[in-house]
Amino acid sequence: MNGGQDLGGTQGHGPVKPEPNEPVFHAEWEKRAFALTLAMGMPGGWNIDMGRFARENRPPGEYLAMSYYQIWFAALELMSKQRGLVADDEIEAGHSLHTPKLVKRVLSPDDVLKVLHRGGPTERDTNTKPAFNPGNTVRMKNINPATHTRLPRYVRGHIGTIERVIGCHVFPDSNATGAGENPQWLYTVRFAGRELWGEQGDPTLTVSIDAWQPYLERA
């Protein structure tokens, strides 16, 4: 979606503010929001792309005004409610008021390190061949879905070069809507800075994104 999250090349946000000796978390609630988000993936049954869409799918002004853990938490609340795991009156009361829904699995302390170590690899086997090879010139499609996509606006319509064939990976645009993993070939595509930003672009700049085959057309 063309939302507040798609920030590449937007202006007026002010300086980057590095924080010396930054703590991992800035408040107790951030720790809990972080851990709840990780732990609820299992009983919640949503995938990472659904999670990303739940975070970005809000008015841009709201997205930009929230801290990152506020965004994470809002998405967790939303997804928990959408799946009938919790209800508004329960959050209001701070207690369970209705019979819990049956969930497949809950993250136990014994499994935490195992689950983190395993992660969620997104590469999948395929019997297809990639349509593009390193060195090929490609144009990024001009797509504007209102649903989740990982093709940022600042590269759409622009010409790039295939640098690397990464492998066949879960396609977020499908996975986020519940339409399945629909694995697609994934490439690193690089762009000259001036292709993206015009004459005023830094001549020493090259930018790359990782792009799935459905985002590309031969140029």
């Binding site: 980057v16 720790k31 090259t206 930018v207």
Partner: protein, 201 residues
């Protein structure tokens, strides 16, 4: 009305909601508080940029390891024991006198957790995510870093599940140093590309 009502900020609103949701989810049996504590402890105390610094120091000290890391970073990093969530597919990016690499996620906050831990606030912020791909030299300036005008800058936007780790250049004057001592020079920002390793002097 108590005077504290004036302090009823948006933040405390969030605090209350987080507490409420945690209670509900716990009472319903969806989350185990001990698992939450362990998740927090892991990312607060165990997984952090020190991991990445060990990887970089080993690559500086051991040419065979460096070659393995640059060829396929995920198993090379796995050799030292770092793997998993948000680091399932890692690529190491070699800085050279001619080329400086910088990593960003313009769409969210993708970051190589097993080697760098959780991202700092600035990495997730609009100023960084917007400007890193368009004007990285101005971003470097915000970090007090100036690169030679003829150094090529390559910015990697982490739009998929590939996570990038910058392998900074080994500082001069560190010949014969142990990996442990070298690791002390490797800053988090030098592995994102917004900084350089510490000066050994």
């Amino acid at each position: 009305m108590s005077g504290h009502d004036h302090d009823h900020s948006e933040l405390s609103e969030t605090e209350l909601r987080v507490r409420a949701l945690e209670s509900v989810l716990t009472e319903k049996g969806y989350v185990d508080p001990a698992a939450l504590d362990l998740l927090i402890e892991t990312y607060e105390k165990k997984v952090g940029p020190r991991n990445g610094a060990r990887v970089v120091a080993k690559a500086w000290a051991d040419p065979a390891y460096r070659a393995r890391l640059l060829k396929d970073a995920t198993p090379a990093i796995g050799e030292i024991g770092y793997a998993g969530r948000q680091g399932e597919h890692i690529v190491a990016l070699e800085n050279t006198p001619k080329r400086h690499n910088m990593v960003v996620c313009t769409l969210c906050s993708c970051y190589p957790w097993p080697v760098l831990g959780l991202p700092p606030v600035w990495y997730k912020s609009a100023p960084y995510r917007s400007r890193a791909v368009a004007d990285p030299r101005s971003v470097l300036k915000d970090f007090g870093v100036t690169l030679p005008q003829d150094t090529d800058i390559r910015v990697w936007d982490s739009t998929a599940e590939i996570r990038y780790l910058v392998l900074p250049m080994r500082p001069a004057g560190t010949e014969g140093w142990s990996e442990e001592k070298l690791a002390d020079l490797v800053t988090r920002d030098s592995m994102i590309g917004t900084g350089l390793p510490k000066d050994p002097k």
